[in-house]
Symmetry: C2
Subunit: 197 residues, 2 copies
């Protein structure tokens, strides 16, 4: 990573617009999934946001129009699918911090869900982005779980350095935008070794 | 199956209410998934219906209220998850016919999706119900595909007898309501044998 010798803010703005074109992590993952699907490399989809529908109008000869509805809390993660015989299941999280990844924005139901997926032999993880650094990591569920346990007694986050050490880096590219399946390969390969931070 | 010597309609009504308590196939699957999840036997969820949200109100201090939205066509099946290391993916279909299972209500995007899942090593199938017979079957994707190919040249359905012969029956029970994982076991076991109707 080249660090331009300019002012802090200029550097960040420039870097963001050049590197990932200001895309959110979610749109990078969606694009990558479309690419992987078209190439026959994996079948991974984002789940729709669950909506509680209260009122629907049926104007004659037209499509049903929902006129009152509310967002519901999802009970799972946002992404799942199948890749070379593996059931994969993950969520994506962004942080603007450059020094740590906060754990408080991971809802407890997602942790339960990822734990259950892993127990069934699925490949469970988070994809996290340090957006201001333009750095991306696959965080294996067992690593996440270790730091969540630690958070019960103290520090509410993983440090950036802990992410570098225990997560698997994903380098953005052109096609796919975020080739996260390479990191999945690496994770699957290493999964039989036990995790000891 | 005991056939009561009553009039046709009486028999059907009675049978439905006693056997599956008038439940839809979907609610039977949802109940079974909750049971399997609670027992740690599988993690399978129904995907939310995708909704195109057009307008949202944010009344002060209250939850966001969606005031204009439309149903979108899903690009996948309704159910997926992980079971003993297998990525499973399926949709559910009901018919009130007693003699055949019509193929026309399987959208083409679901066929593409199931084919892609199978190509990645997932376990792809339909669960079909002959509601008036109170009979349930797991229809492996390769069997479905064979009959869809046949439908291009002629018959637009599988006969009931073909379902009995080539699909795997699922007997309703108490807990779970529809123990379809037993049929998945059988399907997975037989998957290496080629399908020849």
């Amino acid at each position: 990573m080249i660090r331009y010798p300019t002012k802090k803010n200029t550097y960040e703005t420039k870097k963001q617009s050049v590197a990932n074109r200001g895309q959110t992590l979610e749109s990078m993952i969606d694009e990558s999934n479309l690419f992987y699907l078209a190439q026959g490399q994996a079948v991974v989809h984002k789940k729709p946001t669950p909506i509680q529908i209260v009122k629907v109008d049926y104007p004659s000869r037209q499509a049903a129009k929902i006129t009152e509805a509310y967002y519901k809390t999802p009970s799972t993660t946002d992404y799942n699918g199948v890749y070379q015989g593996h059931a994969i299941d993950f969520d994506v999280k962004e942080t603007r911090s450059k020094t740590s990844f906060p754990l408080k924005n991971i809802p407890v139901h997602q942790i339960h869900h990822l734990r259950a997926v892993k127990a069934q032999g699925g490949v469970a993880f988070l994809i996290i982005a340090f957006t201001l650094l333009d750095e991306y990591y696959l965080l294996p569920f067992e690593v996440l779980e270790y730091f969540i346990e630690r958070a019960k007694k103290g520090r509410q986050s993983m440090t950036y350095q802990e992410c570098v050490t225990y997560a698997i880096q994903i380098k953005p590219s052109f096609r796919p935008t975020l080739p996260y399946l390479k990191a999945v390969d690496e994770y699957v390969k290493s999964q039989k070794k036990s995790f000891k931070p």
